[in-house]
Amino acid sequence: MIADFEYFAPKTVKEALSLLSQYKEAKIIAGGQSLLVVLKQRLFSPEYLIDIKGISALDYINYEEGKGLRIGALTPHRTIEKSPVIQKYFPVLSEMENNIATIQTRNWGTIGGNICHGDPAGDPAPVFIALKAKLKLASLGGERVIDMQEFSKDYLEVALDPGEMLSEIQIPKPAPHTGTAHDKLMVMKGDMGIIGAAVSIVLDSKGKCEDARIVLSNAASVPLRAGKAEKKLIGKVLNDALLAEAGELASAEADPPADVHGSAEYRREMVKVFVRRAAAKALERARAA
């Protein structure tokens, strides 16, 4: 089925990084839920595979009042979905995870693998961007931290340098009166979104929208921030008409693909619907926060 490769199973981050620096063309495998599909189709056949799934030090979820949330790259989707801390402080992450694939895939696939796969249809990246997440990238030379938003470069391309791996996702503590929501169009629960929207809204003490983030999946070659739609909301007391206008603007900013699941035109229509829905839910949460 799969072409053979040389296989390494480092047990620590340091070992993994040494191997990555030694074998420049090596590919990382975490849960393999995305990578094995590619290898089975022989779209790509790596010479060296570095299996990081066994590095248990990168499987963690930590929350501290001051620092916010830290998720290790090798944390399985299902652990995030079921985490009491995440359900309490970032329910949107648990809801988003619950709509990814099926339990079997969520049990083995990792959050880091999802993000590093760089699929613009993926759900976590838009939600992380809405939550202002940063990524910690590690190499033998040291660590750097970049905005999630800067990470996606193109379809299946991310800003990892040779020798680098993702080690952690960092989410700051949201400002007071922040609400975040995610929704996507699925034929069946667990499908990749035909279109998806993550929206975060911050209200000031008078109830005016102080900040907004609107991020779309499967609407461009990378997770797409709908800047014009965000601007429409900022500084205003929000109502349904404004949320609908934001949907219209986001739709105009989208450049969605056309495939068997929907034409570009259909997707643009659905952007309107899903931005409005996610924004309404985010607003409701911001008001309740």
Partner: protein, 161 residues
Amino acid sequence: MKGELKELSLTINGKPYELKVKAMTLLVELLRNELKLTGTKVGCLDSACGACTVNIDGKAVRSCSVLALQANGRKVTTIEGVSDSDKLHPIQQAMIDHGAIECGFCTPGMVMSAKALLAENPNPTRDEIREAIQGNLCADEGYVKYIEAIEIAAKEMRGGK
């Protein structure tokens, strides 16, 4: 080196194995082709159908989407390891008694998903059962009886309560 056999030590159905496999071997290929544990089925080989579901360390996973070497040091349970020698597991018995099994091809995967669910959650709601077998396609449309059978098995496993 490429092509070289790699050592793999794992527990399958309670039995320790020391094996040598090619790195590109999928877990399902090891189970079915090397170990002749053919109860685990292959429907799509593409992580779409769930017929190849096994339990790794107690959790439901698709064995077509895991490298055999990734199970190193772990505990794998397949459909062959579910019954207590001749006595069927309550999940299997309930599926038979309740007429849940039609052609039977998806059944091993259904049992493995149900087993992982009940290990974690002995008293699941209907929705939780639905979610647990959402990743197991049944081409005979037999979901309702599977759901009911899992409910019956759960009750039996809780001692009738």
